[in-house]
């Protein structure tokens, strides 16, 4: 037996104190009576007392000593160790998307949690529990915990994911635990049938339920004709499925189609409608099944603003204006350098061979052939370097997202320059072209938080205009300067959507399908949104105080729509042993009960002596 709080045994000091008090307090009442004859005579009529009855006079003291002892023990919180009275359990809880499927008595995930609770409840005191949750990530919820209530509490807070996780990491953890204790019981609570499972007990919580899913949806829109195509699958038996087409603003389908599908086969469908416009298109299987999340598919119509306001500050703006115009349908204003006074209201400012006093605060900035440092630009201009013939700029081999986006589709043509301006960036820029490690064309974010592209040479003193890569590069730079918030709106759960962060973006708020709210980082050019849930994510990007709202849809992973998935193996290597671990018995309750009994007995003795005899 051990004690959680051994200092509680200091309470035993109370025993000698109690005895001392008893001795001091025990005083015979002196009394003079007429004659003691009868009392003395009564001695002859006393029965011979047994040793126990001799204790009757001090039974109250004995009870009180026992009470003090038990109180001390209770404070010390005794724990009795029972050899091999408990077991070690390792639960692996499948949190995949298919665990959301509804069975007759709840979702599979809820059933699995109940089964784990049953195992915990039936285990011996002192058992150790390890719970590994395999969802979006593999998470060890608790490891070797001996507190069943805490384990059940933490278990109750778990929710299934919508991903298709890999249990290999969890099995590695289980292997480590099993190697340390071959007596440990490993249990996987899942809906997957494992073809082999050595040293692991599979608790399959699935049953034969029907489920349909829709996938691979896309649409074409021409004139007023909308054509939507996709696939449906019946995962259990053949079925005739009605697929409704819902457009934004409609609560009932604008069109529908019946599809006959065989079990497990991808059956294509096409549904059409006439509409003057829409912001989203949704197809849904009308039949109910065990998993609702995979019965619909949504695509949002991202209408790109093709008009970009641009200001070119240059004494010779023709070349740049034509370059930008060829890349994008832009509304371009030009102004001579001498007349520029810090105008605002443009999405893109191009300063050609001109050094502004200050950078604009509301748009992307291109600095072309700047021969002086600009406050807030993030780099300083050192000097101009000329070549007698020409120099070839070195194309960046960076794999950063910015470099990849800006050099996308370029062939790597050699850019020759006869002179360039040596710049020294002190902010974090992405170099696209350089010479002798000096950045010549580079992009990044300036001190105002705006995107900025720098050409460190005069475009007219290079061959860039005749290169194939030039219009591609300009197109990439224009895309970079007028970023779309998202490239596409249909994803699959587990994907990561890249959000283009617009200049002067104040915040990006994301409302998930389950109602979770999060905010994305706005300091970079791109923000990454992990799509862990199934449904529509609402993205609110606030730019200069004005909110811009976009939606993306995250569909269920196709493999998670299968009601009875099969996997190859969940093996743990080693020889299992019938080993128990030391169990524990918490004696606190017993001590409290004993204390109550002792107090009751002492009280009865007191009443007996005080009242009954008189």
């Amino acid at each position: 037996m051990s004690f959680l709080y051994p200092l509680g045994l200091l309470g035993l000091i109370g025993i000698p104190i109690l005895i001392l008090v008893y001795i001091i307090k025990t005083k015979y009442t002196e009394q003079t009576i007429a004659s003691t004859y009868l009392w003395r005579l009564s001695e002859k009529f006393l029965k011979r007392k047994n040793p126990i009855s001799r204790l009757a006079g001090i039974i109250s003291l004995i009870l009180q000593i026992l009470a003090v002892t038990v109180i001390s023990l209770a404070i010390a919180h005794p724990i009795l160790t029972v050899p091999a009275g408990a077991d070690e359990y390792c639960f692996i809880l499948d949190g995949s998307g298919s665990m959301n499927m509804a069975e007759s008595d709840g979702t599979r995930f809820e059933i699995a949690k109940n089964r784990i609770n049953e195992v915990i409840d039936s285990s011996g005191n002192g058992s150790l529990y390890t719970l590994i949750y395999v969802g979006d990530t593999t998470l060890t919820v608790y490891e070797k915990s001996d507190d069943p209530e805490l384990c059940k509490l933490l278990l109750s807070e778990l929710q299934p994911s919508y991903s298709s996780p890999d249990i290999s990491e969890a099995m590695a953890m289980a292997q480590r635990l099993f190697s340390a204790n071959p007596g440990a019981e490993l249990l996987i609570f899942t809906d997957t049938d494992y073809l082999s499972h050595q040293n692991v007990k599979i608790v399959n919580v699935s049953s034969e339920v029907k489920n349909y899913s829709i996938s691979d949806m896309s649409y074409t829109y021409s004139g007023n004709d909308l054509t939507v195509t996709g696939n449906v699958i019946s995962h259990k038996g053949d079925a005739v499925l009605n697929i409704g087409l819902y457009l934004s603003g409609y609560t009932s389908p604008v069109s529908s189609v019946a599809v006959t599908t065989a079990e497990g086969e991808h059956t294509p469908f096409t549904v059409t409608a006439k509409t003057a416009g829409f912001s989203s298109v949704r197809c849904a299987i009308e039949e109910s099944d065990s998993l609702a999340e995979d019965n619909e598919y949504v695509i949002f119509n991202v209408q790109k603003n093709e008009m970009f306001k641009t200001l070119i500050v240059s004494d010779n703006p023709f070349f740049l204006k034509s370059s930008i115009s060829s890349a994008v349908s832009a509304d371009i204003d030009t102004v001579p350098a001498s007349e520029y006074t810090g105008t605002a209201g443009y999405g893109l400012y191009v300063f050609d061979s001109f050094v502004p006093d200050s950078l604009p605060t509301d748009g992307t900035v291109w600095l072309v052939n700047v021969d002086g440092s600009v406050s807030g630009s993030g780099f300083s201009v050192q000097r101009e370097i000329s070549f007698e013939t020409s120099a070839v700029l070195e194309r960046s081999s960076s794999t950063s997202s910015v470099a990849r986006a800006l050099l996308k589709d370029t062939l790597g043509d050699q850019i020759h320059v006869t002179e360039y301006i040596k710049c020294a960036p002190y902010r974090n820029f992405t170099t696209l072209y350089s010479y002798n490690s000096n950045p010549i064309i580079f992009a990044g974010v300036n001190a105002n938080g705006n995107r900025q592209v720098v050409f460190g040479f005069d475009l007219h003193k290079s061959n860039i205009a005749v290169l194939y890569d030039y219009p591609v590069l300009i197109r990439n730079l224009v895309d970079y300067s007028f970023p779309e918030i998202v490239d596409r709106t249909d994803f699959v759960s587990g994907d990561r959507a890249e959000i283009n962060v617009i200049a002067n973006c104040d915040s990006i708020r994301v409302d998930s399908p389950l109602g979770n709210v999060s905010y994305l980082d706005t300091t970079g050019a791109f923000a990454t949104l992990p799509l862990d849930e199934v449904g529509t994510y609402r993205i609110t990007m606030t730019v200069a105080g004005s909110p811009r709202i976009f939606n993306v849809f995250s569909a269920m992973q196709p493999e998670e729509s299968v009601p009875s998935p099969i996997s190859e193996s969940a093996d743990v290597i080693g020889d299992a042993a019938d080993l128990g671990i030391d169990g524990i018995r918490d004696l606190l309750t017993a001590a409290i009960i004993a204390l109550a009994v002792l107090f009751s007995a002492d009280w009865m003795v007191y009443c007996y002596e005080k009242y009954q005899l008189r």
Partner: protein, 294 residues
């Protein structure tokens, strides 16, 4: 310490009780007066075997002729009796509220009155230490009784009392009446020899044991150290519980039973009286009820 036990109220009460028995019953102690002793009156009582030295004039020759054996005819003796009352005047009788002492005096006065009413002679003694000290001697008649019985108020209850030591050397008479001993009999001292002596003297023995309510039904519980009022050396220290209380009751039953047996074995009577009983209760319940008064 003087008591005011003998007062007009008590005396009138006693007189009334005496009147009641005179009008309704035959009388007390055999009336006026057939003693239990055989004497020389004309009334035949019994036969007994002849022994050497017996008066040959009392041999029943008719019986001899019939049985060829000498029998002596016995006749009841008829004479004035002498009632001797002994009051235990030890401290145990007076301890506490003196209820036992007062009850003893009341009972002595009652018995004395009943005796004088029968024209018997009455003497009252107090037993102090080892002596029987006369308080009232040889009173005859009610006038004499009323004149002298008040002396009982002045009896001092103190010290020890040794009944045998007091009675044995004293004059107790022979076959001439009743000897009444009033005591709590809660003593280690001997009193059996006194009873034997009285029986040998053909006295009618009447023991009246007076005990207080606490002595009859003690309420003492818990840890007690009891001291004897008569002797500091006699003490009792115990944790009195139910077992001891039961043992006490057994001891009390043993003592009273022993005393009763002693008296009855010697042709005497015994009554147990509570110190808190009224004199009429004592008279009717104890004396008439037990047949002491007929």
């Amino acid at each position: 310490m003087s008591y005011f036990v003998i007062n007009e109220e008590l005396l009138s009460q006693i007189e009334m009780l005496e009147t009641l028995i005179r009008n309704n019953v035959a009388g007390m102690f055999g009336g006026n007066h057939r003693s239990r002793n055989f004497g020389s009156s004309c009334e035949f009582a019994d036969y007994r075997d002849y022994a050497d030295g017996d008066d040959t004039s009392k041999i029943d020759w008719n019986a001899y002729a019939r049985f060829e054996k000498l029998y002596l005819k016995l006749y009841l003796d008829e004479r004035q009796m002498h009632t001797r009352i002994y009051i235990d005047a030890s401290r145990s009788m007076e301890h506490g509220d003196a209820a036992k002492a007062e009850q003893s005096i009341r009972i002595a006065a009652l018995i004395a009155y009943l005796s004088v009413a029968e024209m018997d002679k009455v003497s009252v003694y107090v037993i102090k230490e080892g002596a029987a000290i006369p308080v009232v001697s040889n009173i005859v008649g009610k006038e004499s009784y009323l004149a002298s019985i008040g002396a009982l108020n002045d009896v001092v209850f103190d010290g020890d009392s040794r009944i045998s030591d007091a009675i044995l050397p004293s004059t107790v008479g022979y076959g001439d009446g009743m000897s009444v001993i009033i005591s709590d009999f809660l003593t280690d001292n001997d009193y059996e020899n006194a009873l034997n002596h009285l029986a040998a003297k053909r006295r009618d023995i009447f023991c009246i044991q007076v005990l207080s309510r606490e002595e009859l039904n003690p309420l003492t519980r818990g840890k007690v150290h009891l001291f004897d009022s008569e002797s500091e050396g006699r003490e009792y220290r115990r944790h009195v519980d139910r077992e001891i209380a039961e043992a006490y009751k057994k001891a009390l039953a043993y003592l009273t039973g022993k005393l009763r047996d002693m008296c009855q074995a010697r042709g005497g009577e015994y009554v147990l009286v509570s110190a808190e009983d009224s004199i009429s209760d004592v008279f009717f319940d104890k004396m008439i009820g037990t047949g002491v008064v007929k």
